[in-house]
Amino acid sequence: MMTEYLLIFISTVLVNNFVLVKFLGLCPTISVATKLEPAIGMGLATTFVLTLSSICSYLVYNYLLIPFGLEFLRTITFIFVIAVVVQFTEIVIHKASPLLYQALGIFLPLITTNCIVLGVALLNVQEQHNFIAATIYGFGSAIGFALVLVLFAAIRERIAVADVPLAFKGVPVTLFTAGIMSIGFMGFAGLVK
């Protein structure tokens, strides 16, 4: 049982990384990950939101939607749950750490529309995870997202001062970087069967 959870964790962080293998959550990866510090903040906020929202959406799905036979409403319900969790996180962060709140700025509300959050909730249902597996799945995918975000930001901080050929300046070199990182993460593919 323990091994299974460990496998879920490793496979979501490295093998089936949401950003580089499943291509979810690309918007914050491209836009936030220009500097290291906001990337770390965004990674932490997303980790918190993603874990909490996968727990909440699991509970809502299994104890509310299934007993009443309303599985067909899961997408809209999950969006609703995610919006509430993000709003709650925003209120708490605003109180607890004003500097982090200022640093995250618009990106905190944007987590609501981040497809990785909805994607994890729906994949939890699709793969019929139990409660602990769903929590680990959410947490692992968030750690994978944060890992890519931080690595990507660190690479881009160096690219910003590098002498990039004129045709590749700005967005193209960013997308190249993402592509090469994606190829790099393919190296983990054999890690978990």
Partner: protein, 197 residues
């Protein structure tokens, strides 16, 4: 079927609404906590040397990014460094708009003219003026922050601001006459990729 769906989702919405309402009350923010933190670092002499009517408006202006962190003259270098530390800014980046006067000024009472009216004592925010009614006043040079608030109230204009003479502990090497020009790397610019969103 539709009725059940409406009731279930509506109930869920009600529950979440109550939760958010409770959270908004429980984690209520009074004022801007960052402004409070900045104000705690300012000397509270309300002298107005920074160009704002007091320490709190200046803290607000720093938050709104209208003012630089180096405008507080009474606070001096310590305030500038602690503000830079709090806000994670470069303490040496000077604003083009207004620069910190490098030479610190000091108020001095021309004691032969002083009539002992105590008006300057009441004006001094840092209690740096010593004296009593109808007695000659004097200024404690170690306490004076150079805020100039005592100059205006004096009825006989006996207070003057003089530049502080450097002592062995405050003397610094002068800055080089020509500062070195630092060029950014070729073709470097702030990347604007938010448009990708």
């Amino acid at each position: 079927m539709v009725g059940i769906a409406v009731i279930v989702i509506g109930g869920l919405a009600l529950l979440f609404g109550l939760l958010l309402g409770y959270a908004a009350g429980r984690f209520k923010i009074e004022g801007d906590p960052l402004v409070e933190q900045i104000e705690m670092l300012l000397p509270q002499s309300q002298c107005g040397k920074c160009g704002y009517p007091g320490c709190r408006p200046y803290a607000q202006a720093i938050i709104n990014q209208e003012a630089n962190i180096n405008l507080c003259l009474p606070g001096g270098e310590i305030t500038r460094l602690s503000l830079a530390d709090l806000l994670n800014q470069n303490p040496n980046a000077l604003s083009a708009k207004k620069q910190l006067e490098e030479i610190k000024m000091l108020a001095v009472i021309e004691e032969s003219q002083c009539i002992g009216c105590t008006l300057c004592i009441q004006a001094c925010p840092v209690d740096a003026i010593l004296g009593a009614s109808r007695q000659m006043h004097t200024i404690l040079t170690q306490e004076c922050t150079g805020c100039e608030l005592c100059v205006a109230p004096c009825p006989v204009n006996c207070i003057q601001m003089i530049p502080m003479q450097p002592t062995l502990t405050t003397w610094k090497w002068p800055y080089p006459a020509d500062s070195l020009s630092v060029k950014p790397p070729q073709g470097f610019k702030e990347e604007v990729e938010l448009s990708l969103l």
